[in-house]
């Protein structure tokens, strides 16, 4: 730099001296004095001036370039300049910039490390969420290789979900469920945004139905890059839908049966098919009893529906079960006498007070007693009693008959809605709702238990168990 500065000084001094000399020469020649070297000096001075001008122009360009580089990227090093002065400037700037860049890079690295940790934690969290979802999830790429599979998928198809990644889906699943793999392929080929199919499984957990929903993931170019399959167990939903259909079918059948009699007999009366007064009276009687049956059926269905939906109004009060039973026995005795059935009852002398809705529990006792009488042949006995367990604070009511009994394989269904024991149907009329109502009232409304024991030909024992009311409650009443 010092050398260049000296050089510029010499050039400038030479140019200045040349200009002075030229001026003096010009002045002398005007006065008739010839200076032969004047023109030579004039040329040299012009070259020096031009060179200096060019140097300034070039320096201006390089300064503009430095400014542009600084504006564009403050972290990038500035290109070295040809001008020695500007070289010093760029070196100084570059030193400053490298210090700032280093600090910025360190800060950026720190931020990136934090972001990396956050992303890693988020990924672990998302993975845990996906793995914990109870629905089976399998994601495959465009070559049918597994990108992700959760624990439920591993359980469903019988593979280890932790080592499933990058394996061909056909290798993991096809043996167990080829139709699932076919469905994945079809969905990818059709590029449908969403498609669904019900797939049946029959494994150690028994027959199950899964709702399989598949969606395609496309890249920016519209190419399918992944296929996501979610399998949801709809076995229970199917069962409930089936139960609902069965219930509607049962209800319509039970309602239509008495209605069929009412309509047929009324048509016969209208058409004059009842020839005499006795037949007409018989027809009227059938219409009346079938209308009553229809009404009873509707009441029972409504009562069960009210209890199941929790809409029933329950008014609990302390009641002695023995007294309640005695009241209901009075109502059933005449019916039992008509059939020549003996009713024995025992009244306990201990505290047997329960906190119940009196009307509902009366309904339970009537249903059990009337069933016992209906399914016991003439000459039989119905034995009714209560047992109090002071230790567990429970009272048990038992209705024991010597009736037709129930086959062992049908016992578990006797409390189901509309269930009637096939072999006992001719024995008595019924809606198949009485015991269902008993179960709902005892278990759902009062938190008790119902039970049944039976032997075909020997008889049945139906009963229920309720918690004893505390002495305090009884005394308050």
């Amino acid at each position: 730099l010092r050398r260049e500065r000296s050089f510029y000084c010499v050039v400038a001094a030479f140019a200045a001296l040349t200009l002075v000399y030229c001026a003096l020469g010009f002045w002398a020649e005007r006065d008739g004095v010839f200076v032969p070297a004047a023109s030579v000096f004039c040329g040299a001075a012009a070259v020096g001036v031009i060179w200096l001008g060019w140097s300034f122009v070039r320096a201006g360009g390089e300064i503009t370039s430095i400014a542009t580089q600084l504006n564009c990227d403050q972290t990038h090093q500035i290109k070295p300049c040809r001008s020695a002065w500007l070289k010093v400037l760029t070196e100084a700037l570059n030193n400053r910039l490298s210090d700032e860049t280093s600090a910025q890079l360190k800060e950026q690295l720190k931020q990136l490390q934090i972001q990396n940790k956050l992303l890693s934690a988020q990924k672990t969290h998302i993975d845990q969420v996906i793995y914990s979802i109870r629905d089976a999830i399998i994601v495959v790429d465009e070559f049918d290789k597994v990108l992700l599979a959760n624990e439920a998928a591993g359980r469903l198809f019988g593979f280890d979900f932790a080592t499933a990644a990058n394996k061909p889906v056909s290798e993991l699943v096809e043996g167990a469920k080829p139709e699932f793999v076919d469905f994945l392929r079809q969905s990818r080929t059709s590029r449908a945004p969403g498609s669904r199919k019900e797939i049946d499984f029959d494994d150690a957990e028994g027959p199950r139905v899964f709702d399989c929903r598949v969606s395609c993931v496309c890249d920016d170019g519209g190419r399918v890059c992944a296929v996501v399959a979610v399998l949801h167990d709809i076995t229970r939903e199917k069962e409930i839908a089936q139960m609902k259909n069965d219930f509607v079918s049962h209800v319509s059948h039970e309602l239509k049966t008495p209605l069929a009699s009412i309509m047929a007999y009324s048509e016969m009366l209208t058409d004059g098919e009842a020839n005499d007064e006795q037949t007409r009276n018989e027809f009227y009687s059938v219409i009346r009893t079938q209308a009553q049956r229809l009404n009873r059926l509707i009441e029972d269905i409504l009562n069960i529906a009210r209890i199941e939906s929790g809409l029933v109004k329950v008014e609990k009060q302390p009641v002695s079960l023995a007294i309640l039973m005695e009241e209901q026995l009075q109502m059933i005795r005449s019916f039992a006498q008509e059939k020549d059935i003996r009713i024995c009852s025992e009244k306990p002398i201990v505290h047997d007070c329960v906190l119940v809705d009196k009307d509902m529990v009366s309904q339970v006792i009537v249903n059990l007693l009337s069933n016992a009488v209906k399914y016991t042949k003439p000459g039989g006995t119905v034995h009714v009693f209560t047992e109090v367990d002071e230790i567990s604070k429970k009272v048990t009511v038992k209705v024991v008959d010597t009736g037709v009994g129930i086959p062992a394989d049908e016992l578990e269904h006797v409390f189901d809605k509309f269930y009637r024991v096939g072999a006992n149907k001719p024995q008595a009329k019924g809606t198949g709702l009485g015991l269902s109502l008993v179960k709902q009232i005892v278990e759902k409304v009062h938190g008790g238990n119902v039970f049944v024991q039976s032997k075909v030909g020997a008889g049945s024992t139906f009963g229920f168990e309720l918690g004893l009311a505390t002495e305090v409650v009884t005394a308050k009443s």
């Binding site: 079918s249 319509s252 059948h253 239509k256 049966t257 209605l259 069929a260 009699s261 009412i262 309509m263 047929a264 007999y265 048509e267 016969m268 058409d271 098919e273 009842a274 020839n275 037949t279 059938v286 079938q290 096939g422 072999a423 149907k425 001719p426």
Partner: protein, 129 residues
């Protein structure tokens, strides 16, 4: 009117059997009855009715099982059957055809319409024979 023909009426609802029997007897038919499928099959084989009117839902053996059994017996495999049902969609058309069930009537039914169906089926059978 196809008088003197024998009709087997099968239903576990005694009132239905009773009303159908009165309607048919008033119109000159002979009526025999049963309250379940097992009893009905025995009567069909022993009494050889001209036509059977049976309910679908019955204890021990339902209407479809009864017809299936009737079709396997040489004595009853051609006997026309009318089925009464309080259930919807229990019998598919192809099943009805396969079992040779002449007609399915839904409950509640009209005794008048039942009589008309019996007459039509017996008339068609008489013409065919």
């Amino acid at each position: 009117m196809m008088t003197g023909k024998k009709v087997l009426v099968v239903d576990d609802e005694i009132h239905i059997v009773h009303v159908v029997a009165i309607k048919l007897r008033n119109n000159g038919y002979e009526v025999i009855s049963a309250q379940d499928g097992t009893e009905a099959f025995e009567l069909a084989v022993s009494q050889k009715p001209d036509i059977i009117v049976t309910d679908y839902q019955m204890p021990t053996m339902n209407g479809i099982e009864l017809v299936g059994k009737l079709r396997q017996n040489a004595q009853t495999n051609k006997t026309p059957v009318i089925m009464l049902t309080a259930r919807s969609f229990v019998i598919e058309d192809d099943q009805q055809q396969q079992l040779g069930i002449s007609e399915v009537l839904s409950k509640p039914f009209s005794p008048k319409e039942l009589l008309r169906s019996i007459e039509d089926i017996l008339y068609a059978k008489a013409v065919a024979d």
